[in-house]
């Protein structure tokens, strides 16, 4: 049952990813990316990561993709007629990397390691066992072990906000002169 669900989600994810790259109209690409985000969120739910699934939908599907669609419609781009001239090179490189990754995977852990039989001992570090619930567990770790990266993330967001305003505003520097 779990495997059936995984194969459904994985199939849709791969299909919509291909559509993102293959479709000519940018709006259709963005919409298939939306479907892909929702199915990735479903994959997170099957992996017992409910908080990340919710954040995936809120941030990716709610904020990032709306921003993309806004820019696509603002710029009113036409559909492109053909792919880039380096299409054969890109396809060859992609096939090579994919073959390498799958071969490595099959060689190393291909006989599927039964995860139930061999769950590695909880490593030293933030292994949560006392807290109930996914969100509580993430919150405990985020605000204790990773509190400094958390503050750095807020700084990154601030810098990105200022940078986006400076770049997109038309006459920011002309008004001074």
């Amino acid at each position: 049952m779990a495997q059936l669900f995984f194969f459904y989600l994985a199939g849709i994810i791969v299909l919509t990813s291909l559509l993102v790259v293959a479709l000519r109209n940018p709006v259709y690409s963005a919409l298939s990316l939306l479907i892909m985000f929702f199915h990735v969120a479903g994959l997170y739910v099957t992996l017992h990561a409910e908080f990340v699934a919710a954040v995936q939908i809120i941030v990716y599907a709610g904020a990032i993709l709306v921003l993309y669609l806004f820019v696509v419609m603002l710029l009113n781009v036409k559909r492109e007629d053909r792919y880039h001239a380096q299409f054969p090179l890109g396809a060859l490189l992609g096939a090579t990397v994919l073959t390498e990754a799958v071969l490595l995977m099959l060689q190393r852990g291909g006989a599927p390691v039964p995860p139930a039989a061999a769950p590695p001992a909880p490593a030293a570090g933030p292994a949560l066992s006392t807290v109930e619930g996914n969100t509580e567990a993430i919150g405990e770790v985020l605000y204790s072990t990773y509190v400094f990266p958390f503050e750095v993330a807020s700084l990154i967001l601030l810098v990105a906000m200022i940078g986006a305003i400076v770049l997109a505003k038309r006459d920011l520097f002309e008004q001074k002169g």
Binding site: A2, A10, V20, A49, V77, A101, P122, N134
Partner: protein
């Protein structure tokens, strides 16, 4: 029936490769940024899969950080695209050759 972690890794590799090929073969800058989002999502799938496998929530915390960086990247990237479109009236990558060797 539990899904082996190798399945997730292979799925992630496939999605990452699709994103990489998309960056290489498309002319539209917006689609190139969408392909970068595909690659970021592939890494996030890996993070969450291993977080579940090792029973360690640190992987999910890192997904949180990757998401933050993705949001910042999208904001700055789209601002750059708007500025480029304003100066050249095009979002075709072949039209921007100022720094090309």
């Amino acid at each position: 029936m539990v899904v082996p972690v190798s399945y997730y890794v292979i799925l992630s590799a496939i999605v990452f490769t699709i994103g990489m090929v998309g960056v290489l073969i498309r002319r539209n800058i917006i689609i190139i940024l969408l392909s970068v989002e595909l690659m970021l999502n592939a890494t996030n799938i890996n993070f969450v899969a291993f977080s579940d496998y090792f029973h360690n929530v640190a992987g999910q915390v890192f997904v949180f950080f990757a998401l933050t960086v993705a949001a910042a990247e999208v904001a700055v990237g789209l601002a750059i695209i708007i500025a480029l479109f304003r100066s050249k009236a095009s979002i075709n990558v072949d039209d921007f050759q100022l720094m090309k060797w």
